[in-house]
Each structure stands twice: as C-alpha cells, then as structure tokens.
C-alpha cells in the first residue's frame, strides 16, 4: 500500500497538505493570488500547473457509483516528465511514466505493458485554448468558493453540441491546481468526479517515488518495439478521416508498435483543443464467412468504438461521448483506396 508522502523541509512551501478532512494548508509563498484572470486564462494556468509542476497527491475518483482512491505523483526534472498513478485500494494497478518509457502494471492480469516511445514524443504538447475552442465551448467562471479550506475559482466548460463533454473545475486560487473536477454529459449530469484529499507541491521528488509497489514476480512482460515508426501507414497506406465532428482536426499521424502487438499500428489523433480522440488502425484477419461487426466500450467517461474498414480494424478511443468515437471511426479511410463493402 502506498503511503502519502510526508512533508519535508525541502518542499517548496508545502503548498497544500490536507488531511482527509481538510486540515489547514500552508500557502506556497512564491504564489500569490492573481486577480482578474479570464476563465480561459485560468484553464491555461491549470494545464500549465498539471504538466509543469511537481506534485504528490491522493484523490478520490468517482464514476458510475464507484469511488476509489488513487495517488498521483508528477515530476518534471531536467526536462523529463515522470509520473506515477496508482490505485490505492482497488485493482492495485499502476501506471508509471519515466520520460519516453511507459509501464502499466496490471496485477489482476499478472501482466506489465511496457511501451518505449520515440524521444521526440516524450513531451507531448497540448493544444491551447484558443478562439476556435471558445466557439465550441462556453467557458465561464460561475463562482468563487472555498474547497477544503482553499479558495477556488469554479470554471465551467460547456459544450455547444453533443460531440463532447463538459467540465466543471475547481481551480486553486494560488497554485492553479484543479482540486476538484467534474465531467458532465450532454444532460448536465456528472459522470465522473475527482476530488483531491491531499496534495503536496514539492520542489524535489526522489526517483524512488516512481518505482512500483507491487511485486512483478511471475508477471508476463509485454514490450513494444523500441524503434520509432514515424512513417505513416502500417501497410503503406495513409489513413485519415473523410469527415469529422465540428471543430475536430487531425494533429498527429504516426505508426507505432504496441506492447504485445504483432505489427505496427497507425495512430491518428484528432482534437478540438479540449477533447481528443485517438484512432488506431491495424490489419484485421476476419474469419471467412463472418462479416465484421462493430463493437463499443467505455473506460470511465471515455469511449471506444471499433469497426473494420478495408480489412483493417479501426478503433477510436477518446474522452468524448460514445457517438463521437463511433462517428470518427466510421469516417476513417485509407487515402486512394476504395472502401469495400460500403
């Protein structure tokens, strides 16, 4: 079991350190209240805080009536991002990222997935909130309230159509960390919620914090091919979407090998600046006489949809409603290849 890290004198102010009930928190002295930021600027500050800060926190994750505690540790050191996310009282799964290396520990499957990404992809830039984003979402500050004895700005991001989800974010006034976040569906119902119970912003997090707690003796290790596959097209085909939901555009097209995968998989990424959808394309061998049938799934609030086009399995995954991944997956085609059976 992971233990919440203790405060040390080396922590930069120990900005936040709550007990479960919200014990008094000490302010990080270097950070002051920044008045008069627009809601969009708050979102930018939040993204910056989540990606560039060092932090160690525990939070509750609520989805579909289930609540579970997780711990997240995030560090940026010499330009290298390290991150560890662990389930504290459920599956025991852990996700550890160290630079370009991703490892996913699945004790319930006695499996470890290890993916080495090309170095140039180790730090992924995210589209910033811009005018286009503002045309797709209504972004506003709806309140200023105390949460766990911290002052927060409550920012809502409401989609203007049903291709995307909305967010409610309680952003800490002084650190810009989202202390609470809710994801809402098109009906305005919360479908996922994260609330930090403790959070420590430290100037230094040791390497030992990024080691898995579980024993992997007897586990199956699935590695991918470490060599980068940057040329698009697992079979020399350039895949793209012939039509997309409003505001979505393709930002990444690459080929990679996934752990345990037999061959390279084309990976396309579509984003509207706030939500993103990945499409994976790989060769599919369908037994003769069995027509391919689409399938769908969800991971928390995220959705997945898989179908077969021109002998390739097309799988779309993203933090969007199920209909959106279905729409995008159904629009993917290989350039210059006539679609068979459609």
């Amino acid at each position: 079991m992971l233990r919440p890290s203790r405060s040390s004198g080396r922590a930069a102010g120990l900005a936040l350190a709550w007990a479960v009930a919200g014990a008094a928190a000490a302010e990080e002295p270097a950070l002051k209240h920044i008045p008069d930021l627009t809601p969009t600027q708050w979102l930018e500050r939040m993204d910056q805080a989540l990606t560039a800060r060092n932090y160690d926190g525990t939070f509750s994750h609520w989805q579909g009536g289930r609540v579970e505690m997780l711990r997240i540790i995030h560090r940026v050191q010499d330009g290298t991002v390290s991150e560890r996310l662990a389930s504290l009282d459920g599956s025991g799964r852990e996700f550890i990222r160290t630079g370009a290396s991703l490892a996913c520990y699945l004790p319930d499957r006695r499996t470890v997935l290890v993916e080495e990404r090309p170095a140039e992809e180790s730090l992924v830039g995210f589209p910033s909130v811009n005018d286009q984003t503002a045309s797709l979402y209504d972004i506003r500050e709806v309140g200023h309230m105390r949460l766990n004895r911290r002052e927060t700005h409550v920012i809502t991001v409401s989609p203007k159509d049903e291709y995307r989800y909305g967010y409610r974010l309680w952003i800490d006034d002084s650190t810009a960390m989202p202390l609470k976040s809710q994801l809402a569906d098109a009906h305005g119902q919360v479908i996922e919620q994260i609330v930090f119970a403790s959070l420590t912003l430290s100037s230094r997090i040791p390497d030992t914090a990024f080691r898995p707690e579980i024993s992997t003796a007897g586990f199956r290790w699935l590695h991918n091919d470490a060599a980068p596959h940057l040329q698009p097209g697992s079979a020399g085909l350039a895949w793209s979407a012939i039509s997309l939901p409003p505001g979505f555009r393709m930002t990444v097209r690459s080929a990679q090998t996934l752990p345990g995968s037999a061959g390279p998989v084309d990976h396309l990424v579509f984003t509207d600046g706030f939500a993103s959808v990945s499409v994976f394309v790989e060769r599919q061998s369908v037994p003769s006489g069995q027509p391919p049938v689409p399938e769908s799934a969800t991971v928390g609030s995220s959705s997945a949809f898989s179908t077969v086009v021109d002998g390739h399995k097309i799988t779309a995954v993203g933090e969007v409603p199920p209909a959106t991944v279905r729409f995008i997956a159904s629009q993917v085609r290989a350039q210059g290849v006539a679609s068979a059976g459609r």
């Binding site: 233990r3 919440p4 007990a19 009930a21 014990a23 993204d47 989540l50 939070f59 994750h61 609520w62 989805q63 579909g64 009536g65 609540v67 505690m69 996310l85 662990a86 009282d89 459920g90 599956s91 699945l106 319930d108 499957r109 499996t111 990404r117 209504d138 506003r140 709806v142 409401s158 989609p159 203007k160 909305g166 409610r168 976040s181 809710q182 994801l183 809402a184 098109a186 009906h187 919360v190 479908i191 609330v195 119970a197 199956r220 996934l258 345990g260 984003t271 939500a275 990945s278 391919p292 689409p294 399938e295 969800t298 991971v299 928390g300 609030s301 997945a304 993203g318 933090e319 209909a323």
Partner: protein, 209 residues
C-alpha cells in the same frame, strides 16, 4: 471495534473531528480492513439518510448494503437502487468477485463529505439538451445556464483487455492534462479481473450495434 474508535469514526463522518485526528484516522483506515468496512457502512447509511441522489451502489456492494439496511429497518425504504451492468461492453470481462466493495466503502465517505449535491446543484452547468447526435444550434449552451443536481451514470462492471489497455495508454499521451488524468484514473479503477483469469489471445468480442 472499541467504543473510542467508533466515536472517532462518527465524529469524522460528522466533520467534528480535529484535522490532526482525521489524518491519523484516515491513515489507519487505509490499512485496517474491518475499520474500512465500518467506515463504509457509515457512508452508506449517511447517504441514505440524506437521500443523496448522487449515491448509487455498484452491484457487488449492493449485497452488503442490503445487509446493512436489514439491520437498519428504518432506512430500508430509502435504499439506493442497484446499478445495472451495461450489456454493450464486451471488451471487458465480467467481474466474478466482490473485491471492490471495500475500496468503494472506504472512500465513499470522503466523497460524501467533499461533495455536496446541494452545492453542486448551484454549480453544475447544464449543457445542450439531449437529442440524437447532431450538432446543437450555436449558443445552445448559453440557454442552458440553469443548474441541476447531477445523477450518476450506471457503472459498467468490466475489466479492460490488454488490447484496450494498450489503446488507452497510447491515447493518454495525447490527451489534454485533465482529460488524461480522468482517462488513466478510470482505467486504474475499472474492476480487476478475477483471480486466475488468463488473457485470451484476443479477448475482443464483437457485438452488434
């Protein structure tokens, strides 16, 4: 369970325990299974008493809740309904065990204390009204600035396959920070595979849409 500990739990639940004591008790909760179970019962009973609409119980937990409610007959009429397992999620294997209940119980009190539906009712921005998937008129959200109390979505009691896990992890690297955290958290908390489950060569089952 000694009386003092019981009293502390009750005080913690009622937000009347000193922060330092709360922290100590929270740490103890993380490693004391019987205490965790009792904590969960407090949470459930408290939620039912408050008739909090956001509280739904997953199927494995529901049996335990029923037992609690039988012991608390005055509350039985308000028991939360069971969630139904979605049939569309064949990418996950059904959970055979009930190992999740303790985890749910342990944390739900935290959520209950930090999540006030009444407060959320004022803050939950309503987005465009539901319809078949098609773009809503621009400005639809602007009309939807009324607020509603959120309801949970039925849980899928499923386990991700290795194949889908690969996709999720690969996709997470390209998600915006908040979405990425949500995605990975959901993946981490999806229910574990039953002990001894072997990963089939391809556990992706197809189902007609």
């Amino acid at each position: 369970m000694n009386e003092e500990l019981d009293s502390q739990l009750s005080a913690m639940f009622d937000d009347e325990l000193a922060p330092a004591e709360c922290e100590l008790l929270a740490r103890r909760l993380s490693r004391d299974e019987p205490l965790k179970a009792r904590w969960g019962r407090y949470a459930i009973i408290g939620a039912v008493i408050r008739a909090e609409r956001g509280v739904r119980l997953n199927a494995p937990l529901a049996g335990r809740v029923n037992a609690v409610l039988l012991a608390e007959p005055a509350l039985a009429a308000h028991a939360a309904p069971r969630d139904r397992t979605s049939m569309r999620l064949r990418w996950w294997q059904p959970l055979a065990g009930s190992a999740v209940a303790a985890g749910v119980a342990a944390v739900s009190i935290l959520w209950l204390r930090t999540h006030s539906p009444a407060a959320d009712a004022q803050l939950a921005a309503r987005v465009a009204s539901p319809a078949a998937v098609s773009p809503a008129p621009a400005g639809a959200a602007a009309q939807g600035d009324s607020y509603i109390v959120p309801l949970p979505k039925p849980a899928g009691v499923m386990v991700p396959s290795t194949e889908l896990a690969n996709y999720v992890v690969a996709h997470s690297m390209f998600s915006p920070p908040v979405a990425r955290r949500n995605l990975l958290s959901a993946f981490m908390t999806s229910e574990p595979a039953p002990a001894g489950t072997d990963e089939p060569q391809s556990d992706v089952k197809t189902i007609a849409q």
